[in-house]
């Protein structure tokens, strides 16, 4: 077993096995981040490749005292940003979504098949959630992927995105708020109407856990 620091050090000296081990350690997470960020598997794979190329090229400049994971996530976010912009340019279809905090993002067209009262259904929710993530303003998208898909802490996210803690907190809240609205619009999150005793019961049960 080798520590990550050790692997980084060896990879830096040109040790291919060490570099490959770093790829193994991070490829899944980086791929998944890119998949949620970019929305399809081909782009996600392209992004993962590009991320590790940049890691390889910039490894010399990586500070040992800083966190490799933070560093590679930062590269990954930048690669995704670049690829997305590239895609938008190629398609020449200016998306409605603007930068962070502009609430004027493109909403998905409500899907009439799902009435608002539709009960939670895993596969549907999954699909809608992915779509909803992709319609968030980019800054909210990246933060919510890092937090809720990747499970990174507020501190880590702040370091990766160069954000103050307060900004991390408020942006996560905004992103989730928007996601919830999007899911309600497509009827993929149950409305939990108080007139429904079964749902009320579930809610109470959760309350007990507080």
């Amino acid at each position: 077993m080798h520590s990550e620091q050790d692997l980084v050090r060896r990879a830096r000296t040109g040790d291919q096995a060490a570099f490959s081990a770093l790829v193994t350690a991070y490829e899944g997470r980086i791929y998944m981040l890119a998949l949620r960020y970019l929305g399809n598997r081909d782009d996600a794979q392209d992004a993962a490749q590009e991320v590790f190329l940049r890691v390889f090229r910039f490894l010399d400049g990586f500070q040992e005292e800083s966190n490799f994971s933070t560093w590679i996530y930062r590269i990954a976010v930048n690669v995704c940003k670049d690829l997305l912009m590239q895609k938008i340019r190629r398609a020449e279809q200016p998306l409605e979504q603007k930068d962070e905090d502009n609430e004027d993002y493109a909403l998905p067209i409500p899907d009439e098949r799902y009435a608002p009262e539709t009960v939670f259904e895993a596969a549907q929710l999954r699909k809608s959630l992915c779509d909803a993530i992709l319609s968030l303003p980019e800054a909210q998208r990246q933060i919510i992927i890092l937090r809720d898909v990747q499970g990174l802490s507020y501190e880590e996210i702040g370091e990766i995105l160069f954000l103050e803690r307060g900004t991390v907190k408020s942006r996560i809240a905004r992103a989730r708020g928007n996601l919830r609205k999007l899911l309600l619009q497509t009827g993929n999150i149950s409305a939990f109407s108080s007139s429904n005793p079964a749902k009320g019961g579930e809610s109470d049960a959760n309350l007990q856990r507080l």
């Binding site: 190329l53 409305a191 809610s203």
Partner: protein, 293 residues
């Protein structure tokens, strides 16, 4: 007294395991009495669960191999790990620059001094990389008084040239002085401090991404016109670190072209709408550098 909106923030913190026990009790009490927030709480909880489940998806079987192949193909040997743009600045250029060091030299100087037929285009690029139309080149020529084929005349006062106003780009003309290699360390520290993103020192050069790592909103065709420009580099830094970065760069005497502000929102019309949290905006610089020794 907290409002339901305040409690919504607490819900998020609770779901992230970041709530103090006292606040948890407070939230719990509120949820017991407010059905709207209870509903919201349950929705957020359900959503967060579903989000976490999104990472449980198989990765492509060839992912690992494809990554290694991609890397190997593009960076076979450590010796080639240097940025394509990190070509050495011809020494005569810096010598000339040193000759007029007593005077503040505007950022465009180095480009002006290059006896290349593409000078005007290069100026245009320096002025605003994302645009490459000819009117842009014209404007850049006009906004700089010097003849591109002539040595710049030393300016009598410390008067940096007025940055050219143009469509929404936050463009600034930073002045710079002659390059002093011993100040390279300052820049090195700037890189190490993490102010520069995606940057590193490679073989004594400041490397800020490879050509294929260029921010995509930069007009690549325009950029290719400076391929012959010695040692043009670019950097993207967080907006709130701009000052720090600029002063470090200026102290080290780098020829610095400020291109524009805005990162991914850098299209001309959106560059101005900066009413965000502020920290994530990027600033792009084009600059030139010299090797350490």
């Amino acid at each position: 007294m907290r409002t339901c909106n305040d409690y919504e923030i607490l819900i998020h913190l609770y779901l992230d395991g970041m709530l103090e026990p006292s606040e948890s009790h407070e939230l719990s009490a509120h949820l017991a009495s407010c059905s709207a927030c209870r509903k919201r709480f349950e929705q957020y909880r359900q959503m967060k669960e579903a989000m976490a489940a999104l990472k449980d998806e198989p990765v492509p079987a060839d992912l690992h191999d494809s990554i290694l192949a991609y890397v190997t193909e593009r960076a076979d040997t450590p010796a080639e790990r240097r940025p394509v743009k990190a070509k050495r600045f011809p020494s005569w250029t810096w010598k000339t620059a040193a000759g007029i060091a007593a005077c503040a030299v505007i950022a465009f100087t180095a480009v002006h001094m290059m006896p290349r037929k593409g000078s005007a285009d290069q100026n245009a690029l320096a002025a605003r990389a994302p645009m490459s139309d000819s009117s842009c080149a014209e404007e850049a020529k006009l906004s700089n008084t010097g003849d591109p084929y002539k040595m710049p005349t030393p300016c009598p006062e410390d008067t940096p040239e007025e940055p050219a106003e143009n469509s929404g780009f936050n463009q600034k003309g930073y002045r710079t002085e002659s390059f002093d290699p011993k100040n390279f360390a300052i820049l090195t520290e700037t890189v190490k401090s993490g102010v520069l993103r995606d940057a590193s020192l490679v073989n004594g050069y400041l490397a800020v991404g490879e050509e294929d790592a260029l921010p995509t909103w930069i007009d690549r065709e325009a950029l290719s016109s400076i391929d012959e420009t010695p040692d043009a580099g670019y950097a993207r830094v967080a907006a709130d670190q701009e000052e720090e970065w600029v002063s470090a760069l200026e102290e080290s005497g780098f020829a610095l072209y400020s291109l524009e502000v805005g990162g991914e929102a850098s299209e001309p019309q959106s560059a101005a709408s900066g009413e965000t949290d502020g920290a994530e905006e990027n600033v792009l610089f084009l600059f030139q550098w010299e090797k350490t020794e």
